[in-house]
Symmetry: D2
Subunit: 362 residues, 4 copies
């Protein structure tokens, strides 16, 4: 007989990030959706009503390649501000920044909470987690619960742009040390949600994404940081990020030039990437990629349209590994990461799977 599934709540269920969590939870072996919540406007409606425009009958569902899970359509959406968490063993908070700042501590006081939002990412006792990269940061949780007097806890996931980048940097840092990097991103539309007007991005590139570069710089250093005295000490590497938006639906492409502490040949870098994270992937968690990093030798790859969905959208695809003539001990490569899978809802579900595996959930 299989173990009973853990009841979970999904907050922000009608938004893009929340829908990605719902899709990642469809037919999940360990979790079952016990509660949905969203803003007051949706409260009291069925999920199906809440995502359907009343006049036209148009349904707002944003996860490509699938419709809303059938089981979810009939669930009643609750008001995120009034949500009781009775019987809920885990909260996925996929809400806007302002609401997250206020509501996440309320959830975390009562139940384990995984957030895809920004406000608490940089707090020193809150793990900024990428499964397979910095799981040791979960040691912060004991201190966090004690200091904040929470029954639950709060784990945050990084910005989707930082995620794929940090996966590759961690692999390099472990073996060669990373001193500095220049990264230019070409980010997919879905990362901007529905706010990005077609009129702005079709047949175009937008050279600026508000606050994105700062986040990439800050979050990368925290993810790669080490624990000391119950908090994370940021990694000292220097980061220069230029973040642009491209006319690609999903998948962030990033061109990286990195300075290493020790010299590394392109073959050594490729091998390091391929070996990275095998301890974690060997756990075989349901949403886990088979490889944390997939290395391409065809110079035409990775491409966001062809490679974003590789390994369930959970691997970071890397190619064009070659020396960088400008950076000290320099190496260059491009990567593609799926901003809406590993970099969002499905990454949150993978984090939950690890938390369960490691005994953090009940």
């Amino acid at each position: 007989m299989s173990a009973p599934k853990l009841p979970v709540a999904v907050i922000g269920a009608t938004g893009i990030a929340g829908q990605q969590v719902l899709a990642a939870l469809e037919d999940h072996p360990h979790f079952e959706i016990a509660a949905l919540a969203a803003s007051e406007r949706s409260a009291g409606k069925s999920f199906e009503e809440a995502i359907t425009e009343p006049e036209s009958g148009i349904r707002r569902w944003y996860v490509s390649g699938t419709g809303p899970p059938a089981k979810v359509l009939g669930l009643t959406v609750e008001d995120a501000r009034r949500l009781k968490l009775d019987g809920v063993g885990l909260v996925f908070a996929a809400i806007e920044s302002e609401a997250a700042r206020e509501l996440e501590p309320l959830y975390a006081a009562r139940a384990p909470t995984i957030s895809t939002a920004r406000p608490h990412r940089t707090e020193p006792d809150v793990p900024l987690l990428i499964p397979g990269v910095n799981l040791e940061h979960l040691e912060l949780l004991a201190e966090q619960r004690k200091r904040r007097k929470w029954d639950g806890f709060l784990v945050t996931l990084p910005n989707c742009t930082a995620t794929g980048l940090a996966v590759t940097l961690k692999a390099l840092d472990e073996r060669f040390g990373v001193e500095a990097l220049v990264v230019t991103t070409m980010q997919g539309i879905s990362g901007a949600g529905r706010d990005l007007a077609a009129l702005d991005i079709v047949e175009n590139i937008i050279p600026y994404i508000a606050r994105e570069e700062e986040r990439v710089e800050l979050e990368t250093r925290k993810i790669l940081g080490r624990l000391s005295g119950g908090k994370v000490v940021d990694h000292p590497l220097k980061v220069s990020a230029t973040c642009t938006r491209a006319g690609v639906l999903a998948g962030h492409t990033e061109a990286v030039s990195a300075a290493l502490t020790k010299p590394a040949s392109s073959a050594e870098v490729a091998e390091t990437f391929e070996r990275f994270g095998t301890g974690f992937t060997a756990l075989g968690l349901p949403s886990s990629p088979k490889r944390m990093i997939t290395v391409h030798h065809d110079p035409n790859r990775p491409q966001p349209r062809l490679d974003r969905d590789a390994d369930g959208g959970m691997t970071t695809s890397v190619g064009r590994i070659r020396p960088d003539p400008v950076m000290p001990n320099g190496v260059r490569y491009l990567l593609v990461t799926h901003n809406a899978r590993m970099g969002a809802g499905k990454g949150a579900v993978l984090a939950a799977e690890y938390l369960k595996h490691a005994g953090y959930l009940g």
Copy 2:
């Protein structure tokens, strides 16, 4: 009474580069098209016939925003290998690499020749010219003609990706010195010509353009080089280029991180860009931009779709100037340059206008 116009020949007239020259020559005050040439397949046909598919009646004209010049439609296309240059005062050679290697010296032996092709760009006695940037390299021509016993001469234009980059680097180098740079490009489709299949680039980014990065690195150093002993000595700056193709029709977007010899504030860099090339633009040549570099303060600019056609497609649009935390005395910016205007046919016509102005043409 106005001076008679100089008769010019356009070689490769049916291809994309050649058509851009034709468009740039429409109603030109100083030049008139006296001869068209292309491959043997088109020879003997009118230009209109040569660009029209016989069965379907579909016409192959590649310059956006305009049709073929009416005067050109009825001209007879000659065989580029058999072209007589009687009475022709200037040749625009806009042909494929292999043909250029063989034919351009034959043209240059008889007439001044401006080439948009690659093969002779790196020869030490052949100027690799960007009008307004390195016009002093034309001093090579005297030596070139003498050594090669040519009645004419050969001037080449750079790769379209190097063009906009070199314009900005020259401005920086004059005032602050440039030591090194990391550049990531997001290049427009028209730079690839008709070979790029829609199936490959729609809703996608291709992380590799064959031989492009090497050219950007080589050509940038030559354009910024100094004359010494009748040849160009390459500039010693180090260049790390990553060249990608984006789903943008025209306009190359480039994210640059540069290390300078002397520190420069963002305001000083902006001011340096705005002042650059005013001696050249003051000549008021017909195809000249009003400004070599247009600086944007709106962080959302430059965008290729909005800015590629600025100033007739001849200015380099720059924005997001800010310090680079990784490069020594580092500065970062993005630029947009029109690969098919300044970076191709219209740049060739501007070069011709300067050659005429400076007395190099008859």
Copy 3:
């Protein structure tokens, strides 16, 4: 000495439709912008401030190929609800439906008003005008002013999708009679304004545009209607419209199958299109196209990207004229019309030019 220019007001100046009017009025020989108005939120700001996001500095200007007219940047935006029209000889109302319903009668009571909005289009004493197509409908204005006791008057422009269609139908109807038509549209993004999310339309087609098909059907019949007893009697033709949105920035492409009263060969149809409206175009109004309809014989044309800007975006480009085997006396063709030029702000300015020419303005 040239005549003094007529002072005009542009309402809805910060929106897409209003900006198109502003662009069409730049350096206009007969009109000068005397007042700008928009919603309360923009009131009191300079136009430049009103279109610039305060935090990021991003400027919201939607007309492709040009920036905001320099003269307009410093003008103060007034509140559309409190606008005095002292000294204003003409109002361009380019506002949302709800506001238009309320405010346009207030403007029309005081000054000649041209509206691009929907609410008053179907009122029997309000002309639904396409310059060059149904100018005789202006005879309604005398009756309108009398009945409504207005000092000014109200003229409306049709939906952008109906515009190009009605131009071609009017040409056919005059000579052959039009009984019925089936039309499928593939409409450009700019017709939807900024509400259309990139996530919905990139690499996609949306098969539905709310209320668009009904408008095309209604408005076409009114535009082609005849005057009788001081009002417009709709044309009896039957219209079946299917309106879709395509991933094209601007330009509506429409595939038309029409049943005619009298048989017509494809050559006769082409000739009829080419001759249409020459009486109007001969007036040489500043924003007028040279031809109302431009006929293509290349089967690959018209294409929205290549042909939308033809003749200043004011001509309707038609191609692939051929018999229709299903419709009685059937003819098929495709057309491309620029939804944001002839079908919007520039069409409104052309209407104003005709009103001035015909003595309706002061």
Copy 4:
């Protein structure tokens, strides 16, 4: 113990259509790939070599969402003109028209052959087959083999644009009779293969596809035809098709206005579509859709990007069913069909599955 798999040959394996067959055969329960063939240029190479550009290492694989099947990479590609068919029980011919005309009869003389190419589609004794639509046309094969003295036989699949259309028309014809239709298509890029240049279609619509409209008109009538005297008598319905290319990667969207023999309400049409083909889908063939037609009630659907992959790309998605005011007993709807799944290689594999089920293969 499971039955041994039938050895099959795939001709044209390096092309787009052939690769789609290979993808549809991956891990197939009934068929195994015994031979690959292509043009002389690829002969003797492994499949992996044959699809890899020698200089750059770029691999040409065109099926989205998957790489080449691992088992196929090492197979040797044979010359399609010299292919022995020893031991091969079925040939998939996915080759260019000219080669198909010559080679398909040679294959069919020796083995059952399913072709995706055009040349033999309109021959009266060759079935033009859509599984689930006109399987009774397979009765032609007995006559075909006798008359042509073939040991095998030849079955062809329709043009991808005709496929989805014919599925819906057959459903309507069975219950209401179809007299005539006007259809406008917006076809995906992959239907054009690699010949379609990005420069032509990005941010554009092309109003013409050579020979497509004639094929849709001819093939639709044959598919819906009835058997009489050992050949197919075309259905007498009249078809007016306008075929355009849109900037969508895959999936053909078609707007249909049909005249029926008997009146039908929108609800009856929807119900008819939903019930269509249940006898066939109940067979549960491995590549079969669960429903031949999927009906959408959300007016915003079907969309090619969201619906082309529904039911394995094998269902025809229909929406916006409503009366047509112009056609007699008129009904309107839009459909999306996956040109590269049901309309190509995977449709061929489904046809093969039925042939096997019905005892036509060995």
